[in-house]
Subunit: 309 residues, 2 copies
């Protein structure tokens, strides 16, 4: 089943003619998870032919406009499209009152349930646990409270070998439990170890989203070993000072976190409008973490395929 | 000097892949007037290579999101671009508190003066009178208080004929006053009538913006004789009932107002997302008012040229 990331916006606060503000869509098993919702997200969804109805969860990293000024329009559009399914919105806790008062200021009456899940604190917290995914939030370090998100596929079942089924005459009814890791006990009471009759299933994939944040060492522990890390890289290496004062990262910061966390691939984005050509930023990051790629509006990255690149 | 209108968004509340929400830019003598500011306006400005710095006045017709959810991002972008010039914002009076509290919720500190001019009431009011233009607001009839805007070039000076200057030996110092309409008094006290030595200058042009509104008879009197009328036409003729209950207009409503007002050209827009092809709407309007054109995102309409079409 797919685990694919589509970038809808790769700019920082100032959009350019090529780059919209932050928004990512993770397709996990044909369920869509929208991460941040910068201005124009609904137009980018349309342009990329992404089905609005498959989005049931929206994650907002922090309360800066370039990460959520597309939300009001999108919530309203859902309503106009006749949405009836509840929508789950994960956002910093103080956004609750701001959001609902703004919707009411604009006479926006949603015809679906909007379930607000507040984010707060300094710990890793599981905020969603559904059929296919576990989503954990973790703190970032920015000018305002900000949160990263880790999306992790549930473990795949182990595969039972055809040979084992034949050799031990395992009845079909026992197979699901064995796939989950149980040993098999034969009719005469012999215990057949699970590892002798199964092989490991497909490895589950994981994606972590880190925007906006300055560099801090603990971040690597939150995103340890993920298949794909998105990490903001607003600035190039020479602008470390501006990155620090604005609470942002350089290419070097992003690559160091990827390296320390031992991730498999890194995508950098949230580029300052000063960079018309972002290739030099990617080259910089690659000097520290070679498996780095740029976030490009409208591009889709297949987590499984990326590991082969 | 140019009087040109650029459409940045021609959709109604639900944008499509071809149509952004409402926003128009009027270029009057190289000064830019932004009328409504739907989501994505700043991206459309960039795409159409329109210079942000030339915008000093923004007019918001009413407090529905598809007419102003691009404003927060644009105000913030102005600031990030280092704007120092004051910005004049004309909007329904109750937007003042909503706007400033929302900017503060999002930690947006503008480094330029934002001058809020409240709109209210049921009368025509001159809200701006600058070197080249007079701008009048007038009431529309929608579900919430809504205002239309009339942009009228100041009268052009009369042209003094070369023959008159030679015949009456008119000194250069007197010419500006004569161009404004004064008679010329010769050295011997003879009064030469202005109309005998001048010819009319260029005719001043006018543009009126009407969105959103249902049909009402008095509207034609507010936009009487304008060179170009933009009038919303969310629906086709068959949807009169839905137009009425939602406070919108059909093609027929727009064309009737154009006809009654004796305008020179009509642009219809704010099209419902149900119309993929808008040509049938234009054809419908033309059965009542032949000189009708569609609003198309990214198109520029030269008011002077349009009269020759």
């Amino acid at each position: 089943m797919p685990m694919k990331l589509t970038i809808l916006g790769s700019s920082s606060a100032l959009p350019t003619s090529e780059r919209f503000p932050s928004a990512h869509v993770l397709n996990a098993h044909e369920r869509l998870y929208l991460i941040d919702c910068g201005e124009g997200t609904q137009m980018q969804l349309r342009k990329n032919k992404i089905r609005f109805g498959k989005i049931n969860h929206i994650f907002i990293s922090h309360l800066h406009g370039d990460h959520l000024f597309g939300l009001y329009g999108l919530l309203s559009t859902f309503s106009l499209m006749g949405r009836a399914t509840p929508l789950h919105l994960y956002a910093p806790e103080n956004y609750h009152d701001i959001l609902f008062s703004h919707l009411s200021d604009f006479d926006i009456h949603l015809n679906y349930e909007l379930d607000f899940i507040p984010l707060s604190g300094k710990d890793q917290i599981i905020i969603l646990d559904d059929k296919y995914l576990t989503v954990t939030s973790f703190p970032l370090e920015h000018r305002v409270p900000a949160f990263g998100f880790l999306f992790k596929e549930k473990p795949y079942d182990r595969n039972i070998t055809r040979e084992a089924i034949e050799q031990y005459e395992i009845p079909g009814v026992r197979i699901p439990a064995i796939k989950k890791g149980e040993d098999y006990i034969t009719k005469d009471g012999t215990v057949i170890k699970n590892e002798d009759i199964t092989i490991a299933g497909k490895e589950s994939l994981s994606y972590a989203y880190c925007s906006d944040t300055k560099y801090f060492k603990r971040l690597a522990s939150f995103v340890k070993g993920v298949d794909l890390l998105y990490h903001e890289s607003t600035f190039d290496m020479s602008m470390e000072e501006l990155a620090l004062t604005t609470g942002h990262s350089t290419t070097s910061d992003a690559a160091k976190t990827a390296e320390n966390a031992g991730v498999k691939a890194l995508i950098i984005g949230h580029f300052s409008a000063r960079y018309r050509d972002i290739n030099p930023l990617v080259e910089e990051a690659r000097t520290i973490f070679p498996h780095t790629f740029p976030a490009i509006d409208g591009h889709t990255y297949d987590l499984e395929e990326m590991n082969k690149w």
